[in-house]
Symmetry: D3
Subunit: 70 residues, 6 copies
């Protein structure tokens, strides 16, 4: 049994992409740890950009500064 | 002190049902572990069907295949 | 499908008590939301007392002060 | 490296307030544990009032009763 | 930026297997959503068998019954 | 009401440091969002280095490579 929670920023992730993530993670756990897919649950959380911080800044500001420092 | 996070698919759970879940979990922790309700927090997350995977498939596809295999 | 995470302080919770919590939460989700038990996963985390804070204090200190204010 | 998840009720938290929370938590981890901000991620979850329970009651009802008992 | 939490039962997962999981999930997010690996954090939680429930039973009992019903 | 989960690597964080984190986060939520400390819970998780990945590598290997690239 396994439970995987994937958090990414909410930026137009499509249902097709979600399906590929779910399949990919489930297969990985089956291959590496022999986990049966029927007992593997995956939950994807899409987080608003303003609600994600890194480097002490909200994501939009973090990206702006990363761009400028290039 | 206790913290419980309940994740279910977003499919029209009513406020009344949420209240029953909150009451039920809080009572359970009080009965089994003597946890004071005032220090028990419960957070319910409703997850879009496309964001929940089991058996390597998004929930809608998982259900479709489960139906067919009956 | 449902996923429940229960966090309590690590204070000698027995395997029997854990089994009762697992059964109780799974039954609650079946009764209230008609969730099939086979697709309900419950994970219990036991947290060291020093790692849990409430009221701005670690649990041991919080309890000491709660006792004194009675 | 650090990861912080802040859950609060959804009640009009502004982007400015979110930025202050992200900055504050990141600075705290840098000061207390010497964690480099570039490796500190903060995710804020805003939870609907009906989905948060304390004292065995959903937040709106909990607040109503807390008011009355004053 | 992405954050992935993988929960599996504590049953002798090796550091090598953990490294393969971390690499696999990070590559998946890079391929599917173009997420930069430097901003992808993965945390693996190993959960005691008695602390994981499925089908209303702790994992050891769930497995015993699954074996018998074959 | 608020719930904060802080995940850091397990590297000898002292009880004193945990108390400062708990106090700091609780005060921050009180100042920024007017959250009453009595309803703010903080849980600190200490994660084994081998169980934390960033940049596609477990933390020990990530640090080794970061050192070399300086």
């Amino acid at each position: 049994m396994s439970y995987v929670n994937i958090k990414v920023t909410r930026e137009g992730v499509t249902d097709r992409q979600k399906a590929v993530l779910i399949k990919g993670v489930t297969d990985l756990l089956a291959q590496v740890l022999n986990k049966p897919p029927a007992l593997t649950h995956v939950v994807i959380d899409e987080v608003e950009l303003a609600n994600w911080g890194v480097g002490g800044l909200p994501a939009p500001e973090f990206r702006r500064q990363s761009q400028q420092s290039k």
